[in-house]
């Protein structure tokens, strides 16, 4: 959010003057309510994001794979791995998958432009979108943990701090990447397919469905992307509690996600546009890092 503020070029003093304290916080709450309303009234979005993680977990667990153990992780039951890995999936799908598609659709439908022309401050809009993703993420995490604990006797972490840190960094990372990727997708027809294909390939390579041996070629390849780090850092506290000799803290994973978060913020700042891409005749197509903010050549519909 702070990044987008800087992009609009307002001075801190002007910002401060524009902030209306409790009224603006109420406005965020109100906006979150309508974000939630929009989310739950769209059955496809709600099903794909929330129900999918739960159903998928239950399907995997009810198959033969559900009763197996993981030999290279101290023969821990596979469910101990699946519960947190699907929680990580739920967060990624809410903060990245859902957010990216919804931002592209909003931009191309002209909804972002309309919001820009209303008095709703940009930070309120972004805060509401962020809180909305957070609520949907949290809901999935809670449902999955409850299923794990009461359905499959999975021990929840003794110490929640490492888990919470990993989840918070993960939420920030994938939200930033969601915004960044939305700026790279030119139209709403492309949004669904592009996001889903990239996302599901990475999920597969990163060990959502089965842990990948660390040190393997696949693990080294997947380590470049944030998805694997999200999964391993969420899983680690559960493994530690189940007696596997690993640290519940995954500093390496957290660092990689933080780097991706910064990259996401940089791309978002440079590429963010309020106007639909297709209807902006002056927008120069193509260049990945189209220069922003100049008074001369670029349309600042973007700012």
């Amino acid at each position: 959010m702070s990044a987008t503020r800087a992009a609009t070029g307002e001075s801190a003093g002007a910002r401060f003057k524009a902030f209306r304290g409790a009224d603006d916080l109420r406005l965020v709450g109100r906006q979150v309510y309508y974000e939630q309303l929009g989310f739950w009234l769209n059955p496809i979005g709600a099903v794909f994001t929330v129900v999918f993680s739960v159903v998928f977990l239950l399907l995997l667990l009810s198959s033969t794979a559900g009763s197996s153990r993981i030999p290279y992780l101290a023969h821990v039951r596979v469910v101990v791995y699946y519960v947190p890995s699907f929680a990580a999936y739920g967060i990624m799908s809410a903060c990245f998958n859902m957010l990216t598609i919804s931002l592209v659709v909003r931009r191309e439908m002209g909804l972002l432009k309309r919001t820009r022309l209303s008095p709703l401050p940009t930070w309120v809009m972004l805060a509401a979108i962020f809180v909305n993703s957070l609520i949907i993420s949290l809901l999935q995490v809670v449902i999955l943990f409850l299923i794990g604990k009461f359905g499959y006797h999975v021990a929840l972490p003794h110490n929640f701090v490492p888990l919470v840190v990993a989840l918070v960094v993960g939420v920030c990372c994938f939200t930033a990447l969601g915004i960044a990727v939305s700026t790279l997708i030119p139209n709403q027809e492309a949004a669904g397919p592009v996001v889903s294909i990239v996302f599901f390939i990475l999920l597969f390579l990163s060990g959502l469905y089965y842990p990948i041996k660390s040190g393997s070629g696949l693990a080294q390849f997947a380590a470049f992307f944030p998805v694997r780090h999200m999964i391993t850092s969420t899983v680690a506290p559960f493994l530690a509690s189940a007696g596997v000799p690993v640290s519940p803290w995954s500093w390496n994973d957290i660092l990689v996600m933080a780097i991706w978060a910064v990259a996401g913020i940089v791309v978002s700042l440079r590429r963010w546009t309020w106007a639909p891409r297709r209807s902006d005749p002056y927008r120069r197509a193509g260049s990945f890092f189209a220069k922003r903010g100049g008074r001369v050549a670029t349309p600042d519909a973007t700012r």
């Binding site: 406005l27 309508y34 002209g110 106007a275 349309p299 600042d300 519909a301 700012r303």
Partner: protein, 311 residues
């Protein structure tokens, strides 16, 4: 007091002058229309007024604010209503939910029920937006534009895609708004929009304003050449007339003149004296469309000539 004043506004995109040296003033409570072909610079101009685009040169004052000043943009937008060229409505909310949500952005919004009635969606208040017809969604769009009870309403081609009934509805809405003292700026390429609504019109072509004035007198429309049409009964010919006339394609007679009163006097006194019927007698001034086509056509020709010379 002027609601909007624009002086020597210019905006370039690379090599293209999207807006060049545009100057106009819109008085409070006035309806001002920017008329021009596609790509003339209408939308760029109003997007600069809305603070959506920055300008390169010139001075702009909207309701006492500089739209480029980010520190006051929220205050300005609280007093501004905008209806975009393209439909922009969330599909999953109900009509009432969408209006109620946006009402919360403004300090003194219009009551949601009042807006529902103004845009004729009172019976559709609980319908999902995606279940509305295209025209109904467009009316909701108008409703979202006026929910904040704006002092200035900016309409970018508000009637594009409307059927004649819906267009009349939109006109009534704009009139209702101006009745309450709201200033309106609209862009359009429909002459009848401008003619029906606008107190003043500016014709914009290739980024420049080429004519400005009340629609009735634009481009010297009220003082220029008039055309007199009529038919003669069988047995009377052009040669019998006291004034020269030409036979037009459909067999009617046509007289083009700058002195229509004098010509009509001679013509009608001749007709009375000789008891000749002037069938379907009509006097026509050039329509706003004629003026517009003449103005923008001349501009386009001039541009083509200059381009030719430059090559």
């Amino acid at each position: 007091m002027a609601a909007v004043s624009v002086e020597h506004l210019s905006k370039r995109y690379g090599e293209i002058d999207a807006v060049k040296d545009v100057t106009f003033v819109v008085e409070q409570g006035e309806v001002f229309a920017l008329l021009g072909p596609n790509g003339a610079g209408k939308t760029t101009t109003i997007e600069i007024l809305e603070g959506f685009r920055s300008r390169d040169r010139g001075r702009v004052d909207v309701l006492g604010y500089d739209p480029a000043d980010r520190s006051t943009s929220r205050q300005l937008r609280e007093r501004l209503g905008v209806v975009l060229q393209e439909l922009a409505v969330e599909p999953f909310l109900s009509v009432r939910q969408a209006l109620t949500r946006n009402a919360g952005y403004y300090p003194r919004p219009r009551p949601v029920d009042e807006v529902l009635e103004l845009v004729g969606l009172d019976t559709k208040a609980n319908a999902r937006v995606k279940a509305l017809s295209g025209g109904q969604q467009r009316r909701l769009d108008l409703g979202l534009g006026i929910i904040g009870n704006p002092e200035l309403l900016v309409l970018d081609e508000p009637t594009t895609g409307f059927d004649p009934t819906a267009r009349r509805g939109a006109w009534d809405l704009v009139r209702a708004m101006t009745g309450g003292g709201t200033t309106v700026i609209l862009t359009t390429h429909y002459m009848d929009d401008a003619e029906a609504l606008a107190d003043r019109v500016a014709v914009i072509s290739a980024g420049r304003i080429i004519a400005q004035g009340p629609p009735g007198s634009l481009g010297g429309r009220d003082v220029g050449e008039a055309t007199i049409w009529f038919r003669l009964p069988p047995g009377t010919g052009v040669g019998d007339l006291p004034v020269p006339a030409t036979v037009s394609g459909n067999g009617a007679l046509e007289i083009r003149t700058d002195h229509e009163i004098e010509v009509l006097a001679r013509l009608t006194s001749w007709a009375l004296r000789d008891k000749v019927d002037l069938i379907g007698l009509t006097v026509e001034r050039s329509t706003l469309e004629d003026v517009y086509l003449r103005l923008t056509g001349a501009e386009a020709q001039a541009a083509a000539v200059t381009e030719g010379l430059e090559r």
